[in-house]
Symmetry: C2
Subunit: 231 residues, 2 copies
Amino acid sequence: MKTRIIEHISCVAEKCYPCHIRQFALFADLQRDDFKHLNLPIESVELLAGESLYQETDEPDFVYTIRSGLVKLVHYLPNGSYKITRLLYKGDLVGIEALSDSNYLQNAIALQNTAICRISVEEIKCLNHTSPHLYKQLAMRWQKIQSDAHIWLTQFTVGSSRKRVANLLLYLAENSEEESFYLPSREDVGALLSITAATASRIIAEFKRHDFLRIKGENAVINKAKFEQIC
Amino acid sequence: MKTRIIEHISCVAEKCYPCHIRQFALFADLQRDDFKHLNLPIESVELLAGESLYQETDEPDFVYTIRSGLVKLVHYLPNGSYKITRLLYKGDLVGIEALSDSNYLQNAIALQNTAICRISVEEIKCLNHTSPHLYKQLAMRWQKIQSDAHIWLTQFTVGSSRKRVANLLLYLAENSEEESFYLPSREDVGALLSITAATASRIIAEFKRHDFLRIKGENAVINKAKFEQIC
DNA sequence: CGGATCGTTGACAGGTATCAATGCTGGTGG
DNA sequence: CCACCAGCATTGATACCTGTCAACGATCCG
């Protein structure tokens, strides 16, 4: 992990409390006073596209809140290929299993340049003792994981490759704040949907030819109506 | 939901505290005193194989702890087929999303005759205020859901049908307390693995012919070594 | 015994993986 | 500035796998 610590947010009350994404983040419900209980610094990390945030084998000492960017959770398979089991967006909490004394279940890798806050697991555990406000947010995070898993299992593993790709594109479009969204590499699309990169490429190319989809560099725009029809 | 209330466990301290599966269950960490805070009755429910515990559309007012038996979580697809997104065993908590004010994500259906404790969501929320012991158990449940989802996505959606069936049989064997385990119908195997019942049947029949697998009624025994080799 | 339900199996068509060749693009160094 | 290269996307040919549809068999139950 080439973690570059950009900034030590040691005076947390000053940095976290007014943070513009705090409303989406783990500390959303904390009051100003709660921040006084924070002892360990929260550290700001920036990853370039392709860089790893943590690996399965790392000590599970931190959880991470995404401030901006996009992260994939990757599981490597015995045959050398890999499966992407989740995508994490702004406000999402990465590595939450570390709070249950579990090892990380997957490898976390940035898909785009990504800004992240690194929070010590010890710190969260302490906060949980002194302040009840965290529990609600944590429960919401767990709930989100369950509901994401539900989407993955019901949208991305069922039906023909064509339908799965269509479902994925709709998901990506709906999770983007802008009209256009980041379109993963064909290999990553394959790893998301349990199909091969060649099949993913064929299907996406077909969508382009039909003009259901327009690609500019790494970004894409879709005709949502057409895709809802396909699904 | 043909819920037959077998027994109202209103004197909870008498029934839950000495329960032989409490160590696996939601109230594992509660002390004798904590039970005094319980107001609403906990109700015992028994389902026959095939009966529904709840549907997606039911009001999410209860969570359920499985005392014995086996439950599937089912998501119905637009084309009339369905997908099984989790299996729940003794000690598992069903419908946990109700605690986050979410609707039930799936339909819960008994695969075998199943004994269940029905617990009011209101009750849990009250307990969470008065006693801190529940949080740890709840966090463990959420963690289990995440780890189950991880298994589903990495073992049951990847690779050839043959490998997926092998992975599923190993999973079923490892989650059984006995040598033999409940083998779902071919249609359910298909719904677990996103394959058709015909394909599931072919593969299971082949395993039988090779004597990797022996079936007696609804139960099966496998040669684990052979299956680990296949996976 | 008859009927319903589920499992098994065959034939075939269609979808997807595999392997490989070609095209495209962005970055690097001369 | 351009040529080259590396990495990725696209596409074709082919074989294999899986879905589909249907027939038949086994089992259970009334």
